[in-house]
């Protein structure tokens, strides 16, 4: 049994309420082979985990982040469609960002911001 499987098994045994989401995440890992470049918007990511937008789903996402299974990226998107800058935190997002897609500076609002999730390359879980 690989370390990857052991980690999941361990987490599922200790967190039965999150078992289903963890199973779906394990499938996702296998599908993308832990490719950290694969990015998912929040609605798609929830769908992949068979979750609905709800406070309980938020707790599961937080749990997965805490355990280092997924990583969050704050992306500023151009009104002309497509990301133009990535940040680790919303606090780091500046008021104005140069939009290389249009050659113009854009004033960032919450509508330009998208949260994306990626799978972490290596899993290091300590329970």
């Amino acid at each position: 049994m690989s370390t990857f499987s052991k980690t999941y098994l361990h987490l599922m045994q200790n967190n039965p309420t999150k078992k289903e989401a963890l199973e779906h995440l394990a499938e996702l890992y296998q599908e993308y082979q832990g490719n950290s470049k694969a990015l998912f918007t929040l609605p798609i990511f929830l769908d992949k985990l068979s979750l609905t937008p709800s406070p309980s789903s938020f707790l599961i996402i937080m749990f997965l982040e805490d355990k280092g299974l997924i990583k969050k990226i704050v992306r500023v998107e151009s009104p002309a469609l497509g990301g133009i800058a990535d940040y680790a935190s919303i606090s780091d997002v500046p008021k104005v960002v140069f939009d290389f897609r249009t050659g113009l500076d854009i004033v960032v609002t919450s509508e330009n911001i998208n949260v994306l999730y990626s799978l972490t390359e290596s899993i290091e879980v300590f329970e």
Binding site: P53, I90, T109, S110
Partner: protein
């Protein structure tokens, strides 16, 4: 876990009432005020989750109704309407009064300064409303001469956006260029309530210049919903009509059909002919008087 869920709901309730364009600034300020790194990350995660899932539904602007009355009245219906709407919804209702306007000032065919003064008066009041309620959607409810003022106001203040309009007993010319106004509410957002027993719009049109019979004959344009009721000129102001027809429109833009729209009788042929000629009475009445006097003199001689 309970604390996290409480925080989740707290952040949701907080941000749902903030304009979308202000949310980023607000969350950044909020995060900068938190010292504890764990708490900061949690608040940020909640915000991003709410934002990313669309749980911060689009900010719904509150609604304000501005009432504009007609002539020869102190607009007693204002109080009933305000009381009804405010007790049945979260809508704010504000009266726009321009004082008693007598029939002579209303009628004077060439001296329109009295009408203009009332339009200016209402313009000032509407501007004050916008100043005091900058984030509200404005719905105008206008009756009779108030509809004329509304038309002039929108035409002269194209930067003033109105969300919806209810016109009743309208005396705005049927061919008024609503569609040319950039601030004219679009997408079925204007109702013209017509009383099938209302003769005043026709009288206003035929007795002088500048008015129309849209409150009797309709605007007959796809951009305005003409809705007929079995009523006279000032019969609109009842709780039944407020609740059944006006409130759904004010709250959700819902246009409730009136059975009288399809069952109404065709307008009298004479009224239809007469209403084709604005100000015709200005010529017909003197003509009848002169003819009568001439006939009388001829009979005497």
């Amino acid at each position: 876990m309970t604390e996290t869920l409480d925080l989740f709901n707290q952040i949701k309730n907080e941000f749902v009432n903030i304009l979308p364009e202000k949310r980023l600034e607000h969350i950044q300020l909020r995060l900068s005020a938190i010292d504890n790194q764990k708490e900061k990350e949690l608040v940020e995660s909640v915000f991003l989750f709410l934002q990313g899932t669309g749980m911060l539904k689009a900010y719904v602007k509150p609604t304000l109704v501005a009432m504009i009355h007609g002539i020869r009245t102190q607009a007693e219906w204002y109080d009933d309407f305000k009381d009804f709407v405010e007790s049945n919804s979260n809508v704010t209702v504000k009266p726009i009064k321009f004082g008693f306007f007598n029939a002579i000032a209303f009628w004077l065919p060439l001296i329109t300064i009295f009408r203009w003064l009332k339009v200016m008066h209402v313009t000032k009041k509407m501007r004050l409303l916008r100043r005091d309620f900058p984030d509200h959607k404005i719905v105008i409810v206008a009756h009779s001469f108030g509809t004329y003022i509304t038309a002039k106001f929108l035409k002269n203040n194209t930067d003033f956006d109105v969300d919806r309009m209810i016109l009743c007993g309208s005396i705005v010319p049927e061919n008024f260029g609503w569609d040319k106004l950039p601030n004219f509410p679009r997408n079925d957002s204007v109702i013209n309530d017509i009383g099938t027993k209302d003769i005043w719009p026709v009288l206003a049109k035929t007795s002088t210049f500048g008015y129309g019979a849209s409150g009797a004959l309709g605007f007959n344009t796809p951009t305005i919903e003409d809705r007929y009721h079995d009523m006279a000129h000032s019969d609109f102001f009842t709780d039944e009509l407020f609740g059944k027809y006006w409130l759904p429109f004010i709250l959700d833009g819902e246009i409730v059909k009136s059975p009288n729209t399809t069952k109404r009788q065709t307008k009298s042929y004479y009224i239809s002919i007469l209403s084709m000629f604005p100000g015709i009475s200005l010529f017909l009445i003197p003509l009848f008087i002169i003819s009568g006097v001439s006939l009388y003199k001829w009979l005497l001689s």
